[in-house]
């Protein structure tokens, strides 16, 4: 008999979401409070809650699940609170300080701020030890490793009580032997510490990035290890038939052992499942170009897939620490339901990034918050039901919202409360639009070619406005939108990244042979790893990428390619892909110039069976779901209009609603602006598109632009 269930557990900062899916397309979401001090406690609490609500015991669910998937924030939290392990670094002598020099740069936005502090060092200077050794840029040894100095560093670490050691040497990627030998000495002298070796964790050129990545990994490894051991043991005690899978920031699943050794892959996993969820939702319409936006209480996360593949970031600063490994690109903006509206020192209205959070929360929560927030604006505009959010469990106080907006914004600017509220709505939307450009325009993509997908509880009130601002014509909103990331995890595949440095110019048979050899090596390693985990050639797939640039450039652009044999003749194909990508990104290319590769990577994916889709019965027409009307404001003039409100639970497949209108779902409120048409699909997804009349206007605008 087939396994009946798939269980997903996504720990967030405030809530831990549980997704229980069955083979027939049934999906249920449960939420419990997260328990940061003992993260496994929330898992027990959640399973208990599911038992109370469904009668299914934890043993029944776990022993009948084909997969139990866990997205965890223990690593992220340790990094935010600087509560990682006591970590030491062994570096090439003379280069112990690269992680504190941080390329000599102070983050933009704080240039003249006398109070912006330096980043907290995960490894303080006295725990960074240099040893004599040196490899040159061509991979040859300049100075042999001084093993006694490595031993001396270990003795120092032992005296200081170090729990985790990272080793990172200059050019170790071209000659890993020194790092490996130093690692043997550490293991021998400090058998109980966790060990991270730079060239093994992140075998790519760039010393600062590699060292910093290794340090973050070492800092988190003991924390992840304790966590994974506890979770694995708990699931085994419940009779799990398969190992627990952990969700990674590369958008794929991994075994606990992998997350323990490569903890840095676990740090920003939460929003990284959005692209996978988006592709799943869009599949019935063959949509592959999708931007997903997820607005919560304090932040707004954006991800993008192009032609079915998610944007990937490498070599970025995350929480002020440089991290190299490929992660799903997640742009985060301080814009959420709790974002505060204020007037800056120049006299301009701004929204966020300060947030009222959940305490005291927006003024309309009536919990002592006096500052006007996005939620308050949405309430004044009539988008939110004053009877309350979350099915009436949280009533909203319109007068408090009105007073906050009047005092802090409308009066100082000399405009009405309604106009100020629409201004807040407009400004927060524009902040989001500018952030969406970072995943689209800055990546060489025109957002108008994309579908906009809605995730998170607060997003649906803004979604048609965002689409309008970006010139996007189609929008997806799933009934699961508020738990979309947790859902994305349970439909994700196992994925590992294998990297190698490859500093070669793209010319000649030798270069081709080197690249071909490297890719084959990486891919046979990856395939072996997945096969030993039960995957077969049928469900293993490979995707390659190369970091390339014109000779003399220092920044690379990453070019994705299908696997093919890299012969001398095939180099032209790689070059053509690079020129095209460069032009897409930067408006020009230089077909005559020499091209070089710096790093190569193969992402190996083991496909996991997908659960069934939701099936909604055909509807009898939207009028059956009409609950009443409410006054709403859809224009800068601040004038309110009677607008119909529908109950989403009463809508059936094929039912259509024309904007302006609001659809109330239990965990979200969908605002449909004038000019939009929503249709509920049998798969539980609303597809919103622009009316013809409106589309004609957009078309006219586009023509003017071209002219």
């Amino acid at each position: 008999m087939q396994n009946q269930y798939r269980l997903g557990i996504d720990a967030g900062g405030t809530f831990t979401d549980f997704i229980l899916a069955d083979r027939k397309g049934g999906v249920r979401i449960f939420k419990v409070l997260s328990t940061p001090t003992d993260p496994t406690m929330a898992i027990r609490n959640g399973l208990k809650l599911i038992e109370e609500e469904t009668g299914l015991s934890p043993e029944t669910i776990v022993s009948n699940s084909d997969l139990c998937i866990n997205g965890t924030t223990v690593g992220l939290n340790a990094l935010i609170t600087h509560n990682g392990a006591k970590t030491g670094l062994i570096a090439t002598k003379g280069h112990e300080d690269s992680i504190e020099i941080r390329l000599g740069h102070k983050e933009d936005g704080y240039r003249y701020d006398p109070e912006y502090p330096p980043a907290t060092m995960l490894v303080p200077r006295y725990l960074r030890r240099g040893v004599s050794e040196r490899v040159l840029s061509n991979g040859t040894v300049h100075t042999a490793l001084n093993e006694e100095e490595v031993r001396e560093a270990c003795r120092h670490f032992l005296r200081e009580g170090v729990e985790s050691v990272s080793i990172s040497f200059v050019w170790s990627v071209l000659h890993p032997e020194h790092e490996l030998r130093a690692g043997e000495i550490v293991r021998e002298m400090m058998p109980h510490v966790r060990l991270t070796i730079g060239s093994q964790l992140y075998p790519q050129v760039r010393e600062y990035t590699r060292t910093s990545t290794a340090i973050v990994n070492a800092y988190l490894a003991p924390i992840l290890q304790r966590y994974v051991e506890a979770v694995d043991a708990y699931f085994q005690s419940l009779g799990a038939r398969h190992p627990v899978r952990y969700f990674q920031s590369n958008g794929g699943l991994a075994l606990g052992k992998v997350v323990t050794d490569q903890s840095v892959y676990a740090i920003n996993s939460g929003p990284a499942s959005a692209p996978q969820a988006a592709l799943w939702l869009g599949e019935p319409w063959a949509m592959k170009d999708i931007i997903t936006v997820d607005m919560g209480g304090t932040s707004f996360d954006i991800t993008l897939t192009r032609d079915g593949r998610a944007n990937v970031s490498k070599n970025i600063d995350f929480l002020r620490y440089r991290i190299g490994i490929p992660m799903i690109q997640v742009e985060t903006l301080g814009a959420g339901g709790g974002s505060i509206g204020w007037i800056d020192s120049m006299g301009l209205m701004q929204m966020g990034p300060q947030s009222a959070g959940s305490e005291p929360g927006p003024a309309s929560y009536d919990q002592g918050g006096e500052r006007p927030t996005t939620t308050d604006a949405n309430l004044i505009l009539g988008y939110l039901n004053p009877d309350g959010l979350v099915g009436g469990r949280l009533p909203l106080n319109v007068e408090k919202a009105r007073k906050a907006i009047k005092t802090h914004l409308a009066d100082p600017l000399g405009i009405s409360v309604e106009k100020a509220a629409f201004g807040m709505f407009t400004i927060v939307n524009n902040n989001m639009v500018n952030a969406i450009r970072r995943v689209s325009v800055e990546r060489g993509y025109d957002p108008r070619d994309f579908v906009l997908n809605c995730a998170g509880g607060a997003t649906a009130a803004h979604i048609t406005a965002l689409a309008r601002e970006m010139g996007i014509r189609k929008v997806l909103i799933s009934k699961l939108a508020s738990g979309l990331c947790a859902f994305g995890q349970i439909i994700s595949d196992v994925k590992y990244n294998y990297m190698a440095p490859a500093p070669v110019r793209l010319e000649g048979a030798e270069a081709a042979a080197r690249l071909d050899g490297l890719f084959n090596q990486l891919e046979s390693r990856g395939t072996e790893d997945l096969k030993s985990d039960g995957f077969t050639d049928d469900n293993i797939s490979v995707r390659r990428s190369l970091d390339m640039r014109y000779v003399g450039q220092v920044h690379e652009c990453t070019v994705d390619v299908e696997p093919f044999e890299v012969t001398e003749a095939a180099l032209a194909r790689l070059k053509a892909a690079f020129h095209a990508r460069h032009e897409e990104l930067y408006t020009y290319s230089e077909p005559q110039s020499a091209v070089e590769v710096v790093n190569v990577e193969s992402a190996i994916t083991g496909a996991v069976d997908k659960p069934g889709r939701m099936e909604i019965a055909p509807g009898k027409g939207a009028h059956a779901a009409l609950k009443g009307t409410r006054e709403m404001i859809f224009n800068a003039d601040g004038i309110a209009h009677e607008t119909p409100v529908y109950d989403g639970a009463l809508l059936g497949a094929g039912d259509r609603i024309t904007g302006p209108a609001v659809i109330q779902e239990v965990t979200t409120t969908i605002v449909i602006e004038p000019g939009w048409l929503a249709e509920l699909d049998a798969s539980g997804v609303y597809l919103l598109s622009q009316h013809e009349a409106h589309a004609a206007r957009v078309l006219a605008d586009a023509v003017t632009e071209d002219a």
Binding site: E100, G104, K106, S137, S345, T426, G552
Partner: protein
């Protein structure tokens, strides 16, 4: 509130789009530029101007470019007055037309809308070479600007959309490492195009008139803001004098004096400096604007975005033509963006320290760096570059915290990045033996100055020309609020060349040839401290000793803290109290 018919919401939106536009221009430059100076070091700036032309947005790029783009843009627009057409693209570097130094090359693209000039998108970047006798432009032996490289007065690279390949070829033919320079020109053009595209989109959406009204309003609001800050300072005349050390010209130390006169909500800044000299440290007026504005911003401490409205209430007088801070042709000037600019900035900062003592922070370490050039046997080609890693100094301490380590120099205020050492070794045939912080280099104070850095290099397999520039090798970064260091030597910069086991310490600007097997270590000063070092928390001094940032001797001399044991770090409380009381 708004005087024009400007809706406050649209105003916020327009400002957001301008910021995004500038960001995307910067990103284009960073990602596509060829030379390490551009793309590793971020030694570039982008800005937007309106038709008048007033600067309507400058990003958070290099402060040394902050002021000089303003007079340069006006000068360039004036030069082609009546002959600015759609599809034009103008190049310029000459300080006689408001440029900073000729190695900083500016690209100006007029943006037309419905046939009318509405905006300019502008960027400026430090090329790796500009021709002339010495690679990378810095020539300590130059006695005239003509010995420093190619002066480019405003010249059209595109004329009504038609690229002038002959002009480009003339320029490139006169520069070393042609491929890099050509790539950097393309990057500058790409950035201007990205900016123009975004601004046209903005006008499509809101209409030209609304956008222009919003921008006029944003300029007025910035002006009002600066006026408010200045009006909070008591009326009066405040002066600051900073000493510029003799870095090898033989004319001795110089004084640069700044007088800040506050009258109500406006401010006049007057600079007095000695006559110009036949050495590469003269600053033309455009560059001096940058130095003065940086001193002003250290006082104003404003968050971005910035526009020219900020400076409407600030008038300047750089002194008579022919002086160090208001040079005239043919004064050599290549070093001007660091020397004398940082000393000029210090003088302005000191004057504001008198005017607004609560807002003072200490001076940052001055730039004392090197350029390198030679032959790359790996690819059989010439290489030349400024080494930005060699000028990363310590930041000054502030009233609230220790200075950042490795964040300077003062003229860049943390905007540079020094580049990954593997990337540098990949790009140039060199071995970087050391890139580290330095013990005792941060200025002593209740809050300590940030540590300076040491950058030590050896050529891989062929002789390397190494040219030094800057200063800060004898006079340490100035402290604030009474900070003073007892141990001065580790806090200043120098070049140490080691040949056959013997180390030579060089404190002047020189051109040296370094052979494979020899090493050159360029050391940069730390930042100034803030407040009395004897009031520094003893535990903080102990932590600095534990981390090797302060030596046992430094703890005693600079901070009056007596630590008896290097391993246990135990403090002799009695001896410490006695020392600190003295």
């Amino acid at each position: 509130m708004p005087k024009r018919n400007v809706d406050p919401i649209t105003l916020s939106v327009v400002r957001g789009v301008l910021e995004t536009t500038q960001r995307e221009m910067t990103l284009t430059l960073e990602q596509t530029a060829r030379s390490s100076v551009f793309n590793l070091a971020h030694d570039y700036s982008t800005a937007l101007f309106n038709h008048t032309p007033e600067m309507i947005l400058q990003g958070q790029d290099i402060p040394i470019h902050l002021g000089s783009l303003i007079p340069a843009m006006k000068s360039v627009a004036g030069f082609f007055d009546g002959d600015i057409n759609e599809g034009d693209l103008i190049l310029h570097n000459d300080p006689a037309y408001g440029g900073s130094h000729i190695i900083d090359t500016c690209m100006y693209m007029p943006v037309f809308y419905e046939g009318e000039l509405v905006f300019w998108t502008v960027c400026k970047g430090h090329l790796t070479d500009i021709g002339g006798p010495v690679p990378a432009g810095y020539n300590p032996n130059a006695t005239e600007i003509f010995a420093e490289g190619l002066r480019i007065p405003p010249v059209k690279l595109w004329d009504k959309g038609k690229p002038r390949h002959d002009v480009m070829n003339l320029l490139l033919t006169n520069m070393r490492a042609r491929r890099d320079q050509e790539g950097d020109f393309n990057a500058l053009i790409g950035a201007c195009q990205v900016g123009a595209r975004n601004l046209k989109g903005l006008m499509d959406k809101y209409g030209k008139d609304v956008v222009q009204d919003c921008i006029a309003e944003l300029l007025d609001m910035a002006e009002a803001h600066m006026r408010k800050l200045i009006s909070e300072v008591p009326d009066g005349t405040y002066t600051g004098t900073a000493i510029l050390e003799d870095a090898g010209h033989g004319f001795g130390d110089f004084e640069i004096k700044a007088t800040v006169t506050i009258t109500g909500d406006s401010c006049h800044i007057e600079i007095v400096s000695p006559p110009q000299i036949p050495y590469f440290i003269n600053s033309y007026e455009g560059n001096s604007h940058s130095g003065v504005y940086l001193g002003l911003m250290m006082f104003a401490q404003l968050p971005p975005p910035y526009n020219e409205g900020l400076y409407r209430c600030v008038s300047t007088d750089m002194g008579p033509k022919g002086t160090l801070c208001n040079a005239k042709s043919p004064a050599p000037h290549m070093n001007c963006t660091t020397t004398p600019m940082e000393t000029l900035t210090d003088a302005v900062r000191l004057a504001f320290e008198q005017a607004a003592p609560a807002k003072v922070s200490a001076s940052w370490g001055h730039a004392n760096g090197c350029n390198i050039a030679g032959w790359d046997n790996r690819h059989d080609e010439e290489y030349v570059t400024m080494v930005l890693a060699s000028i990363i100094s310590g930041a000054g301490a502030t009233a609230s915290q220790d200075g950042w380590h490795a964040c300077g120099p003062e003229c860049c205020f943390g905007a540079l990045t020094s580049g990954d050492i593997e990337m540098l070794e990949h790009s140039y045939p060199i071995i970087i033996h050391r890139y580290s912080l330095m013990e005792d280099s941060g200025g002593a104070g209740k809050n300590r100055g940030g540590s300076g850095t040491c950058w030590e290099v050896e050529p891989l397999d062929s002789p390397m020309t190494l040219i030094t520039f800057g200063e800060g090798r004898r006079i340490p970064a100035m402290g604030a609020a009474g900070a003073k260091s007892a141990m001065v030597q580790p806090k200043v910069g120098r070049l140490e060349v080691t040949r056959n086991g013997e180390t030579q310490i060089i404190t002047e600007n020189v051109i040296e040839t370094i052979q494979p097997g020899e090493r050159a270590a360029n050391k940069n000063p730390g930042g100034g401290g803030y407040g009395n070092p004897f009031e520094r928390d003893i535990q903080k001094v102990v932590e600095d000793v534990r981390n090797g940032l302060v030596s046992l001797e430094g703890a005693r001399q600079d901070y009056g803290v007596v630590i008896t044991d290097r391993d246990t770090l135990s403090v002799d409380t009695e001896a410490t109290a006695k020392l600190r009381a003295a």
